[in-house]
Symmetry: C2
Subunit: 404 residues, 2 copies
């Protein structure tokens, strides 16, 4: 080794804290005398192939701190999922620039990219240290207690449902909120942390970890509506029937809106609208409203967990330390060590790459439409400090005069 050049990139969907990890790498790396340059690739792996690098060593620590506190990927991101050939291109560029350390901040796909590049470097006898830094609002990386980005998105979902519940209590009816997470229900489950009083919503939670049945759904909604005079429902965008068919697709067929064959169901408001249509039509409830949280839940500025911020910074710092002192490639992982405290491990890349974690059974209530206290205890510390709270007027009824 000799060039002392480091490369860092960001991949996949942005989060509220992914820049903390970037800045963690940049600032920690500068503390090592063997590091001469910290490069940042623009727009993820695509920027590597195109040699679109920024020299982060020329940044001020002040601006780096400001960027760290800014959501979304400051370097730009990409949805490219490199195959072997793509990884060879990456490796070619790393070699040309004499990059000795490669840090890639991302989810499952990104860890797989790091794994392939790591193997190619080894096969070529090139001295590369390649480290994957975890990031995903879906919380679906195996080997991690949780992943940076998830706590802030979970906080948004919890706050959104706390507010939606208050709104729904003011003007009673049925409210359906559709939350991101195609395979893992963690983010949808976070809606339960918006609950304070026993009769607060969400009254029902539908996760991709359980099979969705429209008949059961309608029966559940009916029962809750009769009990509370209203019903707040959290639905994962990934709900599906027993065969794995997405519910959005099934409902769209049922109401015959699929005539053109090109009705897009993901990334749209369709699922919420279709479920609301069903409730209106089958249960005869008038005031039914649906929201799809969409990109707000991962991009909204000003809703961030301070715990998430600190940990996202730390996985970046630890990645550099593992790279410099660890002697092997890997994926940084968060391990919970107390209530509440964490430490960091370096897992083998093959242990994380391309695998998907879903919600553990202990987190899901037997009913299948609620979460357990175990999940509440798991998630609460991640949401951080200063969570907004909701209060009610206490009952002090005035005797009626005309209608006594």
């Amino acid at each position: 080794m000799g060039s002392g050049k480091i490369l860092v990139a960001q991949g996949g969907g942005p989060t509220a804290v992914i820049n903390q990890s970037l800045v963690g790498v940049a600032l920690e790396a500068r503390r090592f005398r063997e590091v001469t340059r910290v490069y940042g690739a623009q727009f993820g792996v695509r920027g590597i192939v195109n040699e679109d690098f920024l020299d982060l060593t020329q940044e001020t620590s002040n601006n780096l701190e400001l960027v760290a506190a800014t959501p979304a990927s400051a370097l730009g991101s990409t949805r490219d999922k490199p195959d072997l050939k793509y990884c060879e291109e990456i490796f070619k560029v790393l070699r040309a620039h004499e990059i000795e350390h490669f840090f890639y901040i991302g989810g499952n796909d990104s860890s797989d990219t790091v794994r392939i590049v790591s193997e190619q470097a080894r096969a070529a006898g090139y001295p590369l240290r390649a480290i994957h830094i975890p990031k995903t609002i879906d919380n679906d990386l195996v080997g991690n207690d949780h992943t940076p980005g998830f706590p802030s998105a979970a906080r948004f979902v919890a706050q959104a449902f706390a507010g939606a519940n208050l709104d729904n209590a003011s003007l009673p009816g049925v409210y359906v909120g559709v939350v991101m997470g195609r395979h893992a229900g963690f983010l949808t489950a976070a809606s339960a942390l918006g609950k304070k009083f026993p009769d607060d919503g969400p009254h029902l939670i539908y996760l991709p970890e359980r099979v969705f049945s429209l008949d059961s759904f309608l029966a559940d909604v009916k029962a809750m509506y009769e009990q509370h005079g209203r019903c707040v429902i959290a639905v994962s965008e990934g709900i599906h029937d027993a065969s794995g068919e997405p519910i959005a697709t099934l409902l769209a067929k049922e109401v015959e809106r699929d005539a053109h064959g090109n009705v897009q169901l993901s990334g749209t408001g369709a699922l919420a609208d279709l479920l609301c249509d069903e409730i209106r039509a089958k249960l005869g409830i008038k005031r039914v409203r649906g929201d799809t949280f969409g990109y707000l839940q991962r991009s909204f500025i000003g809703c961030v967990s301070d715990v998430d911020q600190r940990e996202a910074r730390e996985v970046g710092e630890k990645a550099v330390q593992f790279a410099m002192w660890g002697g092997r490639d890997g994926s940084v992982a968060i391990r919970r060590t107390g209530f509440y405290s964490v430490d960091y491990d370096l897992l083998p890349l093959a242990a994380v790459a391309g695998k998907t974690r879903t919600m553990e059974d202990e987190f899901i209530a037997a009913s299948g439409t609620d979460i357990t206290d175990a999940f509440r205890l798991y998630l609460r510390p991640l949401l951080g400090s200063g969570m907004p709270d909701a209060f009610r007027l206490r009952p002090a009824p005035v005797p009626k005069i005309l209608k006594r």
Copy 2:
């Protein structure tokens, strides 16, 4: 006068600060020796007719302060728009309970209810003091510089677009965000306050104050996409063609989704989805995403303007003072007196009731797809302190080696 009984109620869509006004009334009223009881009607005017009153005099100031800081209507609200007969029922109950002061917190419709009840009391020779307290996220009450509730909703929209812009810069494409406001574009225009750098989005803003043309829209989007490699668009749910027909309805017809005759377009994600379909189909852009902010923009807990909180409290306090010392009924209004400071007037009810303010021409750019600096100066102080900010890495490109 002699009973010393006051009644307060909340009407229409909830806001983040409507409970500040409620608590302003309750706490200020207790300072007057002639006030013996402060009643709160549950679920607006409907609660009056049903005599569903809470005795707020039995509340503690501590809990009232906590409720004040909680969004949505603590007393419950209603969408009922009372006619003459309904108002007679209201008046009957006020009389039976010897209510001498009636405060109704709400928008246009609520002010009209107060006006009718006020006239009925006068005609009956009953000594009632009736005051309307302004509230609406739409900012569409005439005679007001702005209305309580609007600043916090505007802050949500500005923060949402600041985040959406960062997300869109990370993964470039077209983003359409649909904002509430059927007739007034103030809330949609607030998206512009999420902009920091000259090339930030929203790059285009479509308001109900201007006629919407699909052809111009597509041409605008194409031009911006070519200039920036991406495009962030803010769209009011109320956009319409020259004849006043909502665009959502027109597009739904165009894509023949209206076969059942019952496709609901308001309160759904349909408009965003339809505009995205058009952009994909006509401009051939692949990454096109749409969000409908829905109820989040008025109900999200934890995104509130401290200026809005203070003013919402003050309109409640001033309402009581006007009632006790003013000698006439009316509608409390906010008047701007400095940059930035306000004072409060009591306008005649007829001057406010049932009228709708829309965005003044000086606030809309000549292009029709942007706002002016006058609007920026108007809105900025309302958003309050602690607005989150966005920062970028500075350019410091690394010379290419392979592709030089």
